[in-house]
């Protein structure tokens, strides 16, 4: 039974996270880098450990145990594999577990799609100007290949649409970019840079439009699946990529959802052991999806841990509580930091915290100032945040090279176990640094 959204108290879950009980200098950690990777609760750690302690064997059973003998350990692992895939399908609203492909992360999932779609010269891929590198670079590679095939270095393959001036999604510009040549609309559901998200209504409109021209909707949902209910069928999504390590799950565990017919049409990207039903010296017969996309021995401990993570996040905490709590946290931090912003420090994205999910990113002309805040936060109060470009290089270059560097940014990202007090500690650090910024810049590397 999920926790109530209006009365959710992070103290009710913090005891489940062993890493939060650690101390350095007598102080606990304050982990505010959840957009990158979250902490793990005890049930997930125990599930991962159970694989290694109890049935540490090779799987490969997929949905039907095809291809490997089923002994004691394999039988137990097989049950976990099936259950984990079923839960993932259920989490995303997929029609069947066979629509779920395990990957290392969302990046790998997006590569499987980009390289598997077999686009032709003349086909176009639409995305926004702020796609994460994981949803940009694979398509740049597709562009490079198609241009080479066409012998035309200027061939238009990728079309990008802009955002509103404050970074919010702009449906009108997105719709305008979709043309009869569009074969793929590949977009991020929520930005890891500033937290802005495409609403369900807008996403459905986009899906309808791209389907009307014969294209597919590829959704990079790495920043939404851990935080809210995402239903691929209701939204009209053809492919969805997400990372389990951003939702309390094991490291290097991700998933690709593909609508059955879309997945079946994909050419396998990484092939070899376990992707085939049979081989001969001159030919190969691939398994049906998802098996054909899961090459070699897999991250079985990750699958077992994924099931535990889904149960913990969705069933124990609940997405309503998560969304509501993140909103409370971001409103509070925004309220604390807004008075401190000015010439030296700005907020990326909309001022309204409700539009930024659990993300607050600060930007500066001064990398030294950003470094000082990060360093003081870590040293004074064990606060862990992230600095840099967050894989949004292209967008940041476009907008901020004029200030001397696009890399001078610091991101705070929260999850359900964070508290208002923790954010106050961080805000106090920022306040202290800004009181005498140059003095705070000592000991830079």
């Amino acid at each position: 039974m999920p926790m109530a959204a209006d009365s959710f108290d992070p103290q009710a879950v913090r005891g489940d996270f062993p890493s939060l009980a650690r101390l350095r200098g007598g102080k606990p950690p304050i982990y505010l880098n959840n957009t990158c990777m979250t902490l793990r609760p005890r049930p997930v750690i125990e599930a991962i450990t159970a694989y290694y302690a109890e049935f540490p064997t090779c799987g490969g059973g997929r949905l039907d145990a095809q291809g490997r003998s089923s002994n004691w350990f394999q039988g137990e692992l097989h049950e976990h594999e099936v259950e984990s895939r079923r839960l993932m399908a259920e989490l995303l609203g997929a029609a069947s577990p066979s629509e779920i492909v395990w990957t290392r992360n969302a990046t790998e999932a997006l590569n499987i799609v980009a390289h598997g779609l077999q686009l032709e010269p003349g086909d176009e891929v639409v995305g926004c100007v702020r796609e994460h590198n994981s949803n940009l670079v694979p398509w740049l590679e597709v562009e490079r290949e198609l241009r080479a095939r066409a012998g035309d270095p200027e061939l238009v393959v990728r079309r990008t649409f802009d955002l509103k001036p404050d970074g919010a999604f702009d449906l009108a510009q997105a719709l305008e970019a979709i043309s009869p040549r569009t074969r793929v609309l590949a977009i991020g559901h929520a930005s890891n840079l500033d937290g802005t998200r495409i609403s369900d209504e807008d996403l459905k409109t986009l899906a309808d439009r791209v389907h009307a021209v014969g294209g597919v909707l590829v959704l990079d949902a790495a920043q939404t699946v851990p935080h809210r209910h995402v239903d691929v069928q209701a939204l009209g999504v053809d492919f969805l990529a997400c990372s389990i390590h951003k939702m309390c799950g094991p490291t290097a565990m991700g998933a690709l959802y593909g609508r059955k017919e879309s997945l079946t049409a994909l050419r396998p990207f990484i092939v070899g052991g376990d992707t085939v039903s049979d081989t001969w010296l001159d030919r190969v017969e691939y398994k049906l999806p998802p098996g054909r996309f899961e090459a070699g021995l897999q991250h079985y401990a990750g699958m077992v841990g994924t099931a535990a993570a889904i149960r913990y996040v969705r069933d124990h905490v609940g997405f309503e509580a998560i969304e509501a709590h993140e909103r409370r946290l971001n409103r509070h931090l925004t309220h604390r930091l807004l008075p401190l912003l000015g010439d030296h420090l700005q907020l990326l994205g909309p001022v309204d915290a409700d539009q930024r999910g659990g993300v607050l990113t600060l930007a500066s002309h001064s990398g030294a100032l950003i470094n000082a805040i990060e360093r003081q936060a870590d040293r004074q109060a064990n606060v862990m945040v992230r600095v840099g470009m967050f894989c949004s290089n292209a967008y940041l270059h476009e907008r901020f090279d004029t200030r001397g560097s696009a890399a001078n940014n610091l991101r705070v990202s929260v999850y359900f176990y964070n508290t208002l007090d923790e954010l106050d500690v961080f805000a106090d650090v920022v306040e202290g640094v800004l009181a005498d910024p140059v003095a705070a810049m000592d000991e830079g590397a």
Binding site: D343, S366, G367, I370, N371, T402, D442, G444
Partner: protein
């Protein structure tokens, strides 16, 4: 390394304060027009920060334009980039490429610009890294590969001005 008084003064007055007015010091403005050479240097060992990007446009053998980008740099790197950026503009590429980054004498004009006769170690180290990056950008302009960046450890003995260049460019 603690920031020296001279670096702190230069950074506060000529870089941070200017940025605080919504402008960017000249050396850090984007290059107008295309670059003919570019390079990056990581001005600290093993850090992954303090990355200086240099873009140059060489015309008729001279540095017509130069732009520095400081990615999460510390004040000393900013200061070195600011001073060398202004110093390099209009200078002959051959002259810059002939300089030996490990020599003491090469630092003279930059310490003068810093108004630091005490020659603080933090500035010396970043001057050397910045010169290395500018030289690599000029090598890029000539189609030559970048030279790997050495460690300019301020605690290490100076190699001396007479040390021959590793490569002739």
């Amino acid at each position: 390394m603690t920031i020296s008084h001279a670096v702190r003064r230069h950074y506060a007055e000529r870089i941070f304060a200017v940025g605080g007015r919504g402008e960017v010091p000249e050396a850090f403005r984007p290059l107008e027009g295309d670059a003919t050479g570019r390079s990056t240097v990581e001005g600290c060992r093993g850090g992954g920060k303090n990355v200086l990007e240099v873009r140059v446009r060489v015309n008729d053998g001279r540095v017509e334009a130069i732009s520095m980008g400081c990615n999460l740099c510390n004040p000393a790197m900013y200061v070195a980039a600011d001073i060398l950026g202004r110093w390099a503009r209009g200078r002959a590429a051959d002259e810059i490429l002939a300089l030996e980054a490990r020599s003491e004498e090469v630092l003279d004009p930059w310490f003068e610009a810093l108004r630091a006769p005490e020659r603080p170690a933090d500035a010396a180290e970043k001057f050397r890294y910045t010169l290395w990056a500018v030289q690599n950008a000029l090598r890029d302009d000539r189609g030559l590969p970048a030279r790997p960046t050495p460690d300019f450890d301020p605690g290490a003995p100076t190699m001396g001005a007479d040390r021959p260049s590793e490569e002739t460019v």
